[in-house]
């Protein structure tokens, strides 16, 4: 009986506990009227409340599969953790947990610094708390909701709340990044709701799984799927609509960047997973477009990102590149449904691996800003290992690479496999660049005699690194695949790494020793983080008169109609005026008229009787 109640209670609290935590912390703040909130923040019970937010979700993920239905919730809520939802929930909650613990120390220290600078530190801290918990709740809800409204509610709650995380620092870059973020988010939401309404309307369902099946059988599958693919593609950073990502991810506070680039970016992928009829009906045109866009992202992001000087920007471009790989694998499965039973689980594995490793890397960028109470070798192991793993040399990366390769070769997709292998070269570039930038940042932090690192940051960072590298073994591994490739396969898996490392070394040597190349590298470092954003802005600005023209014509036409209506009203008024002039006449004759009427009535009554 208890276990029968435990799971539903846990599932509800998975979504509600973060909200409650935020509410409780706000109440504390209000009760203290903001004074000394920073000291309160350090109290163990408040820290526990803050950190515990994703714990119910984590428990749900590991206690087994469950389903609850809440009949009154929106249009009928079904929440479940069956199938791939379990590991996805586990990954999402774990990353929020690590980043949350990290954020506790990070924010506490930041608040003290802010107070020294004379800023209103307590309020800033509180704002972060609220937006953090709201986005967490949304992110967890979108994973467990099996009904469309619940899923969409989670998605939008996450998207709009994350705006507060992006703009948190309120610097010029943060404001620009946040503006790009919200503009693209609104466009994405519009596409998604359009696709969902259309799809759910023709299928007549509110369940995600029925939507997928119904779409597969519907003649309108292509337009609906395209809307959904584009809408979620904004979040997933598909090439061409990705510009907001390198502008927004790096400007957030470190733990928020980790979440944005680790967990939230995946929400786009989960959107595709849960709404598109992948594996049910062949969508070759959309599938091949997706593959092409994915490939463009893979290589474009690697080539553009490698020139940047901010380690977080480099990581953001690496996210686009990695998501590009997932996009093209997904596109392949869209075009060839027969591949989905193998590709689906592999993609989940890939996404979880990337999410956790990228989270660990982002957390590492916050570790260079202060002095650490530990030997440098430990720092470098923890920084480099997720990078190496992401490049596919060791740990989870090797397992993922092996799984991807195996699934592609088994299905005679060796060309795709080759292209993706070459993509690994790009990842190596980005990772080498990242490590170099980390090295410089750490040097300068030591020079500046920066303040000491809170313990919670160190412990959560290490935990995240270990969890990331070991993710296939504790979190999720498709049953049909083995997590460790045979030794004989290693050369085939590792040649891109060797190639990438070689080319990187060559590049470094050239920029160091050839002055002209060095100058060029200096200049390219000033490239804007939003690559295509200025170009799009330019196109829109150049065509602005046309947009405005259309709107003006529309408004003018309506104004004309309005004027006509006024004219008619005026006409009525004129008649009224004329009648008004007859008023004295009536007044004079009213008595006579009434007398006549009375007489007529009296006569008629008399005769009638």
């Amino acid at each position: 009986m208890i276990s029968g109640l435990l799971m539903p209670a846990l599932m509800v609290s998975a979504v509600c506990w973060p909200l409650f935590a935020a509410f409780a912390i706000v109440c504390c703040f209000v009760a203290m009227r903001g004074a000394d909130f920073i000291r309160l923040w350090r109290r163990p019970w408040l820290a526990a409340l803050w950190m515990s937010a994703p714990v119910p979700a984590l428990a749900v993920a590991f206690l087994g599969e469950a389903e609850i239905s809440i009949f009154w919730f929106m249009m009928g809520g079904i929440w479940q953790t069956e199938g791939i939802r379990g590991p996805i929930l586990g990954f999402t909650a774990a990353l929020w947990l690590f980043s949350g613990i990290y954020a506790h120390g990070y924010l506490g220290q930041k608040a003290i610094e802010n107070r020294q600078k004379g800023m209103d530190a307590g309020c800033r801290l509180l704002r972060f708390v609220v937006f953090w918990q709201l986005s967490m709740s949304g992110n967890l809800l979108l994973v467990i909701a099996a009904d469309i409204p619940g899923f969409y509610a989670g998605f939008t709650l996450m998207t709009f709340s994350a705006y507060g995380l992006v703009i948190h620092e309120k610097t010029g870059d943060a404001r620009r990044g946040a503006a790009a973020y919200i503009i693209m988010a609104v466009i994405g939401e519009g596409l998604i709701i359009g696709g969902l309404l259309w799809g759910a309307g023709i299928v007549e369902t509110i369940m995600l799984s029925e939507l997928q099946q119904g779409l597969a059988a519907s003649p309108q599958v292509l337009p609906v799927s395209t809307l959904l693919w584009l809408g979620f593609g904004v979040k997933a950073g598909v090439a061409g609509i990705h510009m907001w990502l390198p502008m927004a991810h790096p400007v957030a506070p470190v733990p928020a960047s980790a979440i944005l680039s680790g967990a939230m970016i995946k929400a786009g992928l989960w959107g595709w997973f849960f709404t598109l009829p992948v594996g049910m009906a062949p969508l070759s045109s959309l599938g091949y477009v997706a593959m092409a866009a994915g490939m463009a992202g893979v290589f474009g992001a690697a080539l553009y990102g490698v020139f940047h000087r901010d380690p977080k920007v480099v990581l953001a471009y690496s996210s686009i590149s990695q998501m590009g790989m997932m996009t093209s694998l997904f596109g392949l499965a869209l075009a060839q449904p027969a591949l989905w039973p193998v590709t689906g689980p592999v993609l989940v594995l890939f996404a979880l691996h990337h999410g956790l490793n990228k989270g660990a890397l982002f957390l590492a960028t916050g570790m260079t800003r202060r002095r650490m109470r530990m030997p440098g070798i430990l720092f470098w192991i923890a920084t480099a290992f997720p990078a190496i793993s992401l490049a596919g040399v060791a740990g989870s990366g090797l397992a993922v690479k092996w799984a991807v390769k195996l699934s592609l070769y088994e299905n005679n997709q060796s060309v795709v496999a080759l292209i993706l292998s070459m993509a690994a070269v790009g990842t190596i570039f980005l990772m080498v660049r990242f490590l170099l930038l980390q090295y410089r940042a750490r040097q300068s932090a030591h020079d500046r005699k920066a303040s000491k690192m809170p313990f919670s940051m160190i412990i959560s960072w290490f935990a995240c690194v270990i969890a990331a590298i070991a993710s296939p073994w504790w979190l999720y591994m498709p049953e049909s695949l083995s997590s460790v490739p045979p030794v004989g396969e290693l050369p085939g898996l590792l040649w891109p790494v060797a190639a990438g490392a070689g080319i990187s070394a060559l590049g470094l040597w050239v920029t160091r020793s050839v002055p002209a190349a060095g100058k060029l590298a200096q200049r390219t470092g000033r490239l804007p983080a939003g690559d295509l954003w200025p170009a799009y802005a330019f196109i829109i600005e150049a065509n602005r008169m046309y947009f405005e023209g259309v709107a003006t014509v529309f408004i003018r036409a309506i104004h004309q109609m309005e004027k006509q209506a006024e004219k008619w009203a005026h006409c009525f008024r004129n008649i009224n005026d004329h009648l008004g002039r007859m008023e004295p006449f009536f007044r004079v004759w009213a008595g006579v008229l009434m007398a006549i009427v009375a007489m007529v009535m009296a006569f008629s009554f008399f005769f009638h009787a």
Binding site: F71, W72, F73, M74, M75, G76, C123, P149, Y152, A153, T156, L157, F160, G164, I167, K170, A178, I182, V186, I187, E189, G190, L191, I193, G194, L196, L197, W198, A200, G201, I202, E204, A551, F554, I555, I558, H559, M561, E562, Q564, A565, E566, W568, A569, F572, R573
Partner: protein, 499 residues
């Protein structure tokens, strides 16, 4: 019991109808007594309407009917649709009364204000319970007359001009509507709401007359419902005091027009007839035009209340869009949006009033940093604004969802495009406000700051928007529950309009 049931609509109507003369007669300075009478009447009415909703749910018939002159019948009756509108009106009347007490504290002519205020609410109840077009017209015109003194309450030149414009529009609209009603009566005789047989029998003989009369009725009602291009009075009328704007936009005038359209399409002509006469698609197109026009115009407004007014133009047409699509889900969305729009818009106007009253803020640019100064009001505003955009779980999403489902079901896919465009435009004119409130810092002094109340502002005007914001969240979160607006709308569709 049956006697009580038949008098019930009248009793509810009279709670506020009686309050009006009592308030008029009270001396101006007896504030406490006036507040007590107002609140007591509002509470009693709310309770009675709640009882009636429960009664309707359990199958009780509330009907009062007598012949005025031969062939003209006065019918007061509470059907499911009627009690829904009555519920909205009495719930929001309570909140608006509380708000108005705080808002008008210390200003002159309060007796006049609250008297007409009660009359205005009595007329909306009459509109809700009207059982045929004759009764409807009576209360519809009473509404016009009782709102005029509220619009011009401040007595400034701007207010008087707005009032004049308001009367010109609504009286002309009323005349056109009356013309339609009389023609229909001449053609078909007495028609009670829900009695479609009459007109359907005429459809084969006199389709032209029926179409013409429909156009007259829609034009007449479209003035109050602020359908483009008949909306000119609405943005100007926002010079009225905040509680009046709130009431005007949420329940009283605009909603009366929309409710009338619902009655005409559903209860006079009937869905099937209106559809077979080809009257619905033009209405869909007109509603879509209004939705887009209102949103585009709202983008350009710098005054907060004006922006909200154009947003009303756009949002109210969701109701017309829903009822014109010939699909049960779309109709359900239209019915539910009667309530949904009311809840969200009244919250927004309350909040705008709070900013104006406490800090003297009237323009969008002055909102910078108000989130810090007035967090509770700002949270309510944010919730309602996101609801308007259609972000779940607020009620706006529920309307949009069922509208979209209905559009797809009825094969009108382009309507989904209109909905998406409207959502994006809504985001474009609401998000900058939310951004200014929360993410910009306040630099200069507030335009006109008043230190009222213990919290950020006086409790009288602080809690009503909070309550309506909570309602607009709860209505969406629990949309599948029976007594939520959407749940009740589904019930209406099942009971009364699905064969």
């Amino acid at each position: 019991m049956a006697v009580i049931n038949s008098w019930m609509p009248l009793v509810v109507l009279f709670t506020s109808l009686f309050a009006a003369p009592v308030i008029f007669l009270l001396p101006e300075e007896r504030h406490q007594a006036r507040i007590a009478i107002n609140l007591a009447a509002a509470l009693i009415k709310l309770i009675l309407v709640a009882l009636m909703i429960l009664g309707v749910y359990m199958g009780v018939r509330y009907e009062l009917c007598f012949t005025v002159v031969y062939g003209v019948v006065f019918i007061l009756r509470a059907d499911a649709l009627g009690v829904m509108f009555a519920g909205l009106s009495s719930l929001l009347w309570l909140f608006t009364t509380i708000y108005a007490v705080g808002y008008l504290e210390g200003s002159p002519n309060r007796s006049r204000f609250f008297g007409f205020f009660s009359l205005c609410v009595a007329s909306t109840l009459g509109i809700a319970f009207a059982g045929n077009l004759f009764t409807f017209v009576l209360f519809y015109e009473l509404l016009t007359l009782s709102t005029y003194p509220l619009v011009v309450h401040r007595g400034t030149d701007r207010a008087l001009a707005a009032g004049k414009r308001y009367l010109q529009y609504t009286l002309t609209g009323g005349v056109v509507f009356l013309l339609g009603v009389v023609s229909l009566h001449a053609l078909a005789g007495e028609i009670a709401f829900g009695d479609y047989g009459h007109l359907a029998a005429l459809a084969s003989d006199k389709p032209f007359y029926l179409k013409g009369i429909f156009v007259l009725l829609v034009l007449g009602l479209g003035v109050k419902a602020a359908m483009v291009p008949l909306h000119g009075w609405l943005p100007q009328a926002m010079v009225a005091p905040a509680p009046v704007s709130a009431l005007l936009h949420a329940v009283a005038v605009v909603k009366a027009g929309a409710f009338g359209l619902v009655r005409v399409v559903y209860d006079v002509y009937g869905m099937e007839l209106a559809f077979s006469l080809g009257l619905l698609s033009p209405l869909t197109i007109a509603a879509s035009m209004t939705i887009l026009y209102g949103s585009i115009r709202a983008l350009g407004q710098t005054e907060i209340k004006r922006r909200l007014a154009f947003s009303t133009v756009s949002q109210v047409s969701y109701i017309m869009l829903g009822i014109s699509m010939f699909h049960p889900l779309a109709a359900m969305a239209g019915f539910a949006h009667l309530i949904h729009q009311g809840l969200m818009k009244i919250t927004l106007f309350f909040c705008a009033g709070n900013y104006a009253e406490t800090l003297g803020i009237h323009c969008v640019e002055e909102l910078d940093g108000t989130g810090r100064r007035m967090p509770i009001t700002s949270i309510a505003f944010t919730v309602a604004a996101f609801g308007m955009i259609g972000v779940p779980p607020a009620v706006g999403f529920i309307s949009k969802w069922y509208l979209g489902m209905g559009a797809a079901g009825a094969g009108m896919h382009w309507v989904i495009l209109v909905l998406v465009a409207s959502s994006i435009l809504n985001a474009a004119y609401f998000l900058p406000l939310v951004y200014r409130i929360w993410f910009k810092t306040h630099e200069n002094d507030w335009p006109h700051e008043q230190d009222i109340g213990v919290l950020e502002t006086s409790a009288w005007i602080l809690w009503p928007p909070v309550a309506t914001a909570i309602f607009s969240l709860a209505g969406g979160l629990a949309a599948a529950a029976t007594f939520s607006p959407a749940g009740w709308a589904a019930l209406i569709i099942f009971w009364e309009y699905l064969p």
